[in-house]
């Protein structure tokens, strides 16, 4: 049976993985509570914000322990979320010892991506290009939209250290999408400029953050809600500025 400190480590690690891969706040808190309760803790309190996790546990014998975990990177990986979900359910059935639990979490955290870079970029560009059909634009825009989306995604994947700075990747994505689509439009490849630009920036639109932020408001997690909302607005603004900079030269 793990000690209190080790239980906190397991819970904080699991919470960190699930939160930094795009889960909602309530799901992270629920996972942490489930894990601590599975190890027989009487009282569990957790406060999760998009930038940090705070957990406090009490086993009922007057010894309470607390851990603070800083969460820095935020991406999207749905496979990791569902695996952590399974992990917490599995713990309820039979509590693992510390070494095995950490090993399992390491396996989930450092697993290889489900789909290779080439596949996800190509398929993502194809998906973004189908926006032409949904927006009821002329179908000759399909191929240019594909090219615009491909170029913006490839640039972001190969951007190096710039990709680690907040909001810079979105700015550059907008810039590339605007530039490539105005170039194609200029040479009469594709006839609807706005649909082409939107296809290019569609993979970077902060739809998830907006939805999660409103869900957090409804659940009463006001700190998470405001910080996620501000993040979403800033991402949207940086995309728009990127497009505006490159289109400004063509209008």
């Amino acid at each position: 049976m793990p000690t209190g400190k080790e239980i906190l480590n397991i819970a904080a690690y699991a919470g960190n993985i699930i939160l930094s891969n795009g889960a909602e706040t309530y799901r992270a808190e629920e996972t942490i509570t489930l894990i601590c309760k599975a190890y027989g803790m009487k009282y569990v309190d957790s406060l999760v914000t998009p930038t940090g996790i705070f957990i406090s546990i009490d086993d009922g014998n007057n010894t309470s322990k607390t851990i603070v975990k800083r969460v820095t990177n935020r991406t999207h990986n749905l496979t990791k979320i569902s695996q952590i979900n399974n992990f917490s359910r599995q713990l309820q059935a039979e509590p693992l010892d510390y070494q095995t639990a950490i090993k399992k979490l390491n396996q989930i955290n450092y697993r290889e991506d489900e789909y290779s870079l080439t596949l996800s970029t190509l398929l993502g560009s194809l998906g973004a290009a189908t926006f032409v059909i949904l927006a009821e634009a002329n179908y000759i825009n399909l191929i240019p939209a594909f090219l615009v989306s491909l170029s913006s995604q490839l640039t972001i994947k190969k951007i190096g250290f710039l990709g680690t700075i907040n909001f810079i990747p979105e700015l550059i994505a907008g810039l590339i999408a605007g530039f490539v689509s105005s170039l194609l439009y200029h040479f009469n490849i594709g006839d609807t400029l706005n649909v082409m630009v939107i296809s290019g920036i569609l993979p970077f639109v902060p739809g998830v953050s907006v939805t999660n932020s409103i869900r957090d408001v409804i659940n009463g997690d006001l700190i998470s809600a405001t910080s996620r909302g501000v993040e979403a607005i800033l991402i949207a603004i940086s995309l728009a500025i990127g497009v505006a900079i490159s289109l400004g030269g063509f209008i």
């Binding site: 749905l78 789909y115 596949l119 398929l123 973004a128 939107i198 409103i214």
Partner: protein, 142 residues
């Protein structure tokens, strides 16, 4: 014919975004189905009411319900379906127009398009939040 093409496009789009967000392999085809059903709801809403905000709200409600059902069926969190399912509804054109008009100096028209964007985004998120909260409430009651 046009409608079928639309539904296929929604299928491909949501499936592709599932791949970008690294969704589990066994959920991919259901992601596509969620997208098609949601976009079908949007088209029906457009036909009946002809208001883009209401149609987006109805479509998101349908997507939320589908996600909760599929999530229980193949034992995955509902977020997997929601995150990529709502992407066809994202108000790209109004957002672009807002930016474009402001860039040209038509601040009033830009503001109009901006408010449209916020209304659609809000309708989508509220619909998803309502279905998500309802599902949790239902779980607690049972």
């Amino acid at each position: 014919m046009n409608i079928i093409l639309n539904l296929i496009a929604a299928f491909i789009m949501v499936l592709a975004f599932g791949v970008i967000f690294q969704a589990p392999k066994r959920s991919l085809w259901l992601l596509g189905v969620t997208g098609s059903i949601g976009w079908g709801g949007f088209l029906i809403g457009q036909e009946l009411i002809d208001n883009i905000v209401t149609s987006a709200f109805i479509a998101s409600l349908i997507i939320g319900i589908c996600s909760e059902l599929f999530a229980r069926w193949i034992k995955l969190p509902a977020t997997v379906f929601i995150i990529s399912g709502i992407l066809p509804l994202v108000p790209g054109i109004p957002a672009y127009n807002a930016m474009f008009f402001i860039l040209q100096g038509d601040y009033l028209e830009g503001l109009e398009a901006g408010i449209d964007t916020i209304l659609i985004a809000g309708a989508i998120s509220f619909a998803i939040a309502i279905t998500g909260t309802a599902a949790r409430y239902y779980k607690k009651v049972n």
